[in-house]
């Protein structure tokens, strides 16, 4: 059995990791680390695990924790892992980081968008960006996975084949997205109170959201050149779910047939990416609780544009699920192991 430890276990992504690991046939929980809840029974915080999870929350330094686990998931604030990880610790344990610390290759970009200096830039070359369907081979060989953000996973997967095959002009790519509230975390903030979010819709982080450079970097790699996008996230009153709607100009010769073929080419064999029937719009509820991403599109002859639509569960494919998918790869398992739970409707 793989011993899996979680640091930051009491956030929503941490809780989702616990759910997935408890249902994973080859993995067992090694420890649940939480500074805030040290000493408390985990199942007293997340009572969904009553009589299921027996562990108490612990707190410990990384050098001590690496001895107890084969893999450590960090669902921690930006800067935490970069501040305590080093090459020596990385030899003792696999790390799958759900924060942004190792996602951007250039520490200057990290510092610009996150406002903190990177404490272990020497590890960046070793880190692999954990967008499984795109970086699968590299992930298999790494010890440090930079697990992508939720908006990012959805945005990149939705646009990737068209950018890669130059069916759209990436300089015209406009990405709008909406997210469920669990993406904002479990911190006690007024802005995330039920009465502040329910019966409301708003954009936020307009022109400044931190997932922007991550999208740009990865799509830039796919395109083979710089990509700049407008990414506008919105908060809507649902617990889980990301829905991305992206619009871009079609390049010469690109049409419905070519786009369909591109999606088939890149995703036709992917278990966790589904391509619903032409003409259907993905709905976040149809992936809720699962590791699936559903992607569809509609071309518009009137404007010579295409509208791309993608959806995933921000806590699964957008966080814990993709983290487990990556863990499976690193440990040589079938990447679907422990991730075959189907979406729950309604």
């Amino acid at each position: 059995m793989i011993r899996a430890g979680i640091i930051g276990a009491t956030g929503y992504a941490g809780n989702e990791l616990v759910r997935l690991i408890m249902g994973h046939p080859e993995t067992e929980l090694a420890f649940l680390a939480s500074k805030t809840y040290e000493g408390e029974h985990y199942a007293s915080i997340y009572r969904n695990f009553t009589e299921i999870v027996e562990l108490d929350c612990v707190y410990g330094e990384l050098p001590e924790l690496v001895k107890k686990a084969d893999v450590i998931f960090t669902a921690t604030p930006q800067g935490f892992l970069a501040g305590c990880l080093n090459a020596g610790l990385l030899k003792e344990c696999i790390f799958i980081d759900l924060s942004a610390d190792y996602r951007l290759k250039d520490p200057a970009v990290y510092e610009k968008w996150y406002g903190i200096s990177h404490k272990s830039p020497e590890l960046l070359p070793e880190a692999v960006y954990g967008l499984t369907e795109i970086n699968r081979d590299k992930i298999k060989k790494t010890r440090l996975v930079a697990n992508p953000g939720c908006y990012t996973t959805c945005s990149i997967l939705t646009a990737y084949p068209l950018v890669k095959d130059k069916l759209i002009d990436p300089s015209t790519l406009i990405i709008n997205a909406m997210s469920g509230v669990s993406g904002a975390g479990r911190g006690a903030k007024t802005a995330n109170l039920f009465c502040e979010v329910n019966e409301n819709a708003k954009a936020y982080g307009v022109t400044t959201h931190r997932h922007t450079p991550e999208i740009e970097e990865q799509l830039g790699i796919a395109f083979g050149g710089e990509v700049r996008v407008n990414f506008t996230p919105h908060l809507i009153p649902i617990n889980r779910g990301i829905l991305v709607t992206a619009t871009a100009d079609l390049t010469e010769g690109a049409g419905e047939k070519e786009i369909r073929e591109a999606y088939e080419k890149y995703y036709g064999e992917e278990f966790f990416i589904r391509l619903p029937e032409p003409g259907t719009c993905p709905e976040s509820r149809y992936v809720e609780g699962s590791n699936f991403t559903d992607i569809s599109f509609k071309t518009d002859e009137r404007t010579n544009r295409v509208v791309l639509m993608g959806t995933l569960d921000n806590l699964v494919k957008g966080a814990a699920g993709q983290a487990v998918q990556n863990m499976n790869l690193v440990f040589g398992l079938d990447e679907r192991t422990g991730l075959t739970g189907l979406p729950m409707v309604p």
Copy 2:
């Protein structure tokens, strides 16, 4: 592999049966029957099953359908199964009926509360009321399971130990319950539109709800005498979940200790019934998506009463989950098979 057919597959309980059976290691889908959607691809109706479920909806007569399956689940309107089932068909196939047709032993009571005459009362003696934790041994031997209602399962399980051991006076039992909207089905009714339900709370079926006689019959058996209750259901804006709050006078000598012991005695070993820590109130979200029922209580010395609280997911333990739990028993499997998915929070 057990071949499982579902009649009424396109309702919410039917959809949940599909989800559970797709995740069940010993069962496969035999057919998905639906009159309304005959010929349509099931996954085009429930797009959570895109690329997962390949079957189309069929329509057929029972004598034809029994040949294709080892077990048939009927998630159908009241009166349907009673109108077409007979002893001969019952020899060919196991039936697990999610409707009310075989729940009440007295056809006159059925006719009074449901307003339809019972078409196959001769099968009633054979039917076993499928409240697994209470009727486990009988269920193992039957070919016709009358799967309980959602409110009923929650109400009975919550009150059963105290009624059985006479710790409360059942003539004082007041049961209030609230339900998610999926309990009202997928029919296109104005009253169940989003805008009619969202931001609203209401009681309904006051003094006349059809789950009342079911509760009374089963608690009466436990008590060893007639039981009459006031059962008041409410509709609240959540997709899934039943929460029962029941109040009753304590009998002489009954207190917190005795009640705790009674719950331990009957449920201490039950996997699907959880008894959260003293002082905690069950919350519907902590069982959502799972087959668990969480039960707790609080005694009140000021009034010499006890307040009982129970919660379950109406589509799982309140319908499809308990149906699969019963199927497992009938086919000699561990009753937890295919039902170990954990609750999903948030």
Copy 3:
């Protein structure tokens, strides 16, 4: 114009007071006091008032504030007003207190349920319990209104005529209630985050909720003897609304006709209490945003009980609306002034 000051203006009840006072033809805002937000533009906190409310939040001591207003509404934590009000200040200004400080006549009961000692018990005789429809004449003459709680207003109004006229046995009265989340305030607590409340139902404060003694005291006055009830509140995912469902044994000779007559007798002429058609169940959405309370009932011959149902908007009739209704009375205005906004559906 009546100059109205609000202390605790940035809570949800405070915000609702601002909305109502801005629409009140005889009143103007004198000041908006808030310790936390001192110096901030009120409309930057509650952006519903963009370009409407020009005031900034202030902070000041009571002796200073009384000079600026004819009436002060205190939507403050328990203990605040009792800790700073005195007979001298009460001569300078009318006080309408939305906290519990002056609701209970016996300071010992206050201390037992609220866990704090009462700092100005000498003012209790002067305070009038502001349940307008029941204490109208006393309210007109007081300078200190103890505005009732939201659960309390709904529970008492629903049961009052039957308790008063002895149509039910108050020793059998079981009150269940559910509330929207705004009743829990705007404090940044994890338990009130969207993801903790949405898709959830739970009871809380079982046997210990602080509105219990308030209900008991007022129904006891109506009954002419001690009343003890089990009051069980629940939290459901709506912004606004209280729904009360109460059950009690009918007394000899009491039936549907007598109950209907009792409601007509006490409420037939009341503008803000509506008695929907027999057989209809009140729904919280039908009073949302308004000062109405809708009350209905259903008798049950099987159990000789009656089920009572009442609903109101916790921020209007359950807080700010009733406060304005009381202010109108104190200042000799038609009590409906500024309160004729109709419920908003959906």
Copy 4:
């Protein structure tokens, strides 16, 4: 008093018209027409009006109805009014049509997008597009107001000053919008059931939504040339509210200062258009229940684009409120009459 009749009174827009007219000091309800609910008490359908609205639903032909009212609001399916209105009837009564029948000047465009032929194209020249802030003077003089759609009002108001003053290139304008479910009407459709909408987000009508030509026509007039946009609407689980997020390339010389000045120039004096502080994102809850539209923006130097954001209540400014605003103009009243109800939060 102005006698106002409503045809299609039992839809959500009809209900909202009733709420506004009941609160309008110069108007009274003449009749409430509904084919489906003919003969039923209006307040039995919309129980928010219990003891408030005494009218029953009627059904009648237009020549008969015009005699009973000074103004008729039609909140009816597309094609209804165009099929029965004529010049003679228009002489007897003012018409404010909430359907799309008279919004598009070219009947061919109407037929293309709506799939029905226009039955009274001869009235199109007389119809004034009722976007009050833009067409105020024309509205004052007409007898036939084509009240704009909800998405349209929000989209046009948000983009208008920048298109008009050529601060953005309209050929790059991408409009995304999300809507509350009341915009889908009160028809009993499975797709609008609570369980189909709650906890879900989806795009719909992608590239084909009928509000597209309306947006294009009006922005084209402002621009002085053809405008083609991609308009992508989304359905989210809220009752009310439209939020528009639009992106466009800035033209040479256009920046934050110029955009701010353009908004000030066109909307600085408008009561119902609010321009929140720079840097704030409009939220739908801050206009809920009111006739306000809140508009803001953010420029992006990285991409030389601007992100525009606008929000309104689809049933008020997006339907009934703007209809009353237009009625006020036609009848020579202050356009704010009866529309000063403030947004309700939460």
